[in-house]
Symmetry: C2
Subunit: 229 residues, 2 copies
Amino acid sequence: MAESARHVLTGPVEDYLKAIYDLERVGDAASTNDIALRLAISPASVSGMVRRLADQGLITHEPYRGVRLTAGGRSAALRTLRRHRILECYLTEVLGYPWDRVHEEAEQLEHAASEELIERMAKALGDPIHDPHGAPIPTRDGRVEEVALRSLSEVAQGERVRVRQVQDEDAERLRYLAELGIRPGALVRILDKAPFEGPITLWIDDGGGGTSRAIGVSLAAQVFVGASE
Amino acid sequence: MAESARHVLTGPVEDYLKAIYDLERVGDAASTNDIALRLAISPASVSGMVRRLADQGLITHEPYRGVRLTAGGRSAALRTLRRHRILECYLTEVLGYPWDRVHEEAEQLEHAASEELIERMAKALGDPIHDPHGAPIPTRDGRVEEVALRSLSEVAQGERVRVRQVQDEDAERLRYLAELGIRPGALVRILDKAPFEGPITLWIDDGGGGTSRAIGVSLAAQVFVGASE
DNA sequence: AGATAAGTTTAGGCAATCCTAAATCTCTTG
DNA sequence: CAAGAGATTTAGGATTGCCTAAACTTATCT
């Protein structure tokens, strides 16, 4: 019953479901345009695929309103996400990939890797619960820890917070964040927030010493934080 | 210059090239029918793909005569074969896959794995030169050890030979061979060959003790051997 | 040589995915 | 409330890869 999962869904379909899953978590329903933007595909193509996904019962679609995952679609999205994140862990921890390059590689492999491969990797890693960028890894049975995190750009001056997760799509951004010491686990204090979307000055303590650095709002928006505890 | 190699060739194209490579090593040119049989595809479909491969300069095609790899096609085939075999090694040696299941998994992954991933795996394994079934692994620069091996079905009664390679496509066959102790490295003596394609009785010494077993000709034909040395 | 079997190619289709251009809908704003 | 901006969908195409049925080639056998 679990083995047949290999070719049930095509690569593109898995990508759509992942994108819709992500978009639904932020806004409400996923709009055609947002899906198109995220997948770098024309909106017209998304319309076409949306019909097919709806036909397959993976999403519900209210025309002009947006798209939502069904239970089946959500579970397929979470399976793909699990694959992706386990792969990222494995590539980083076992094969020595730098953290800015695992996303792209995992993006390819997630559509080809069997359930068995993923579970063997997960076991070799001791069943990790977060990927190298701090994203939670869905369990085999489709549960995810969905903690609402604030983005660093929303944190008030003076607050001390702990970095929990960073967006992993852009390799260059990841390299820069690594250079700054902004990675999951690092402690950050907001020293200053310049007005009018101005630079945010941080004290960053990633375990070693600390440094003070200023970053822009748009970069800060890609960094998610929780209580410093 | 090496990175662009990811999406140049599609999965099906890589499969055709591998098949043609194999067929060319046995017979002379690869025939439409043989390719179709090997890929479990209709001959008509092969005709169509053959035109596309020829257009791309990967093969030459003499209508009704067969197909041959060009230098470019051969090098692409060897790259895919390297990927496949490194993956088989890695799955077996690092992730503990049983040898009868690695082929199928590698078949999927070989189209998605980047050059970098393969080289990281190869390095982790100490640059192996044979896969778990004894097939030689092409080097990064496209060289292969192409030793002509005899199949076990051709060996004369009384001879002592060493198993070098077994065909890896059929999982059940592999399980049975493993049970018999017929694996690369095993020493085998032909005790008896019954006439009229009758059973071949072997003395098998796979390192531990030895046993005597009889197998059919068609199974023996899938086992390749060299000097016992 | 002519007939036939076997193998190959062409013709015509289908499904998945993507595209651009044009039509349509929704929503906000004057 | 009508108009326009912006988002969405439909129309019409292209490509890859596969299929069946029919036409065609090659080679063999009498």
